[in-house]
Symmetry: C2
Subunit: 159 residues, 2 copies
């Protein structure tokens, strides 16, 4: 449930050079290959590392527009709305939240015009009372975890 310094270095190294192998990692980190392998296995079985799936850029796929939609759901319609939204490819993620809205979802679209189509499809469902959309202009900090990993590793001490 927590990682030590060596775990942190493994993750950071892996993040920087994903194509690197276990052997090369062990050389860079100055530890035995078996150690790196064991750490990696543990990190994965502990769930710290979900996997190594390809990181796809929606923009390069033809969906350069990103938006966040806050949805208000009619009481009791939550499950239905989730099922509905999970069928929309342009819905990249969905959260239920506290606060003003009941749900927050990330959308992508082919263009600002196309975004209208996506939103229509998203809110074209009975259980959704209201939706307010914020279009993303810039992304100064793309999704990252490395700083968090480093912080978690520092707090733990060396390993």
């Amino acid at each position: 449930m927590a990682i030590d310094h060596l775990d942190g270095r493994i993750i950071v190294l892996l993040a920087r050079e994903p194509r690197i192998g276990v052997l090369e990692m062990s050389r860079r980190l100055g530890v035995a290959r078996g150690t790196v392998q064991a750490r990696l296995d543990r990190l994965q079985s502990d769930g710290v590392i979900h996997g190594f799936g390809p990181q796809v850029d929606p923009a390069a796929l033809g969906y350069p527009v990103t938006a966040f939609a806050t949805l208000q759901i009619r009481q009791g319609q939550g499950p239905d709305v989730r099922a509905h939204l999970s069928t929309v490819p342009e819905v990249l993620e969905l959260h239920t939240t506290t606060g003003n809205g009941d749900m927050l979802c990330r959308l992508v679209a082919r263009s600002n015009a196309d975004l209208q189509r996506v939103i229509d499809r998203v809110v074209g469902f009975d259980g959704i009372v209201r939706a307010s959309t914020a279009i993303v202009m810039e992304n100064p900090v793309p999704l990252r975890v490395i700083p968090l990993v480093e912080q978690a590793a520092e707090e733990r001490g060396q390993g």
Copy 2:
């Protein structure tokens, strides 16, 4: 800038079984190894695939609480705020948006109580006028791109 059916199958296969090799992929897809290799190279140089970095779960790292904060920025303070937020490890991503707020950021914290500390650190900066936070309760649809990839591949025809 767009992918065909074979590209889509490669990405989906890679997403399902990241540890798979080029050779095994070529067997599964029924094409030559060189073809898969060439497609992968193209996908990466085209930017469709950013990389294969490890997907780290903040919760397993000890940060089980996720929240989204909408920030209102004082005119002209945008760049400073970005620089400030990029130094906070718990800020996993940051977007500038249209709509009610000026920025939207994703935060994680060790607990609901710890979230207060994170928020204080985030908003403890001159350029930020107001912040409204939505704590994530559930995540019915975790970040995904596969459905989008499949849609993009379908529209393109076979390859």
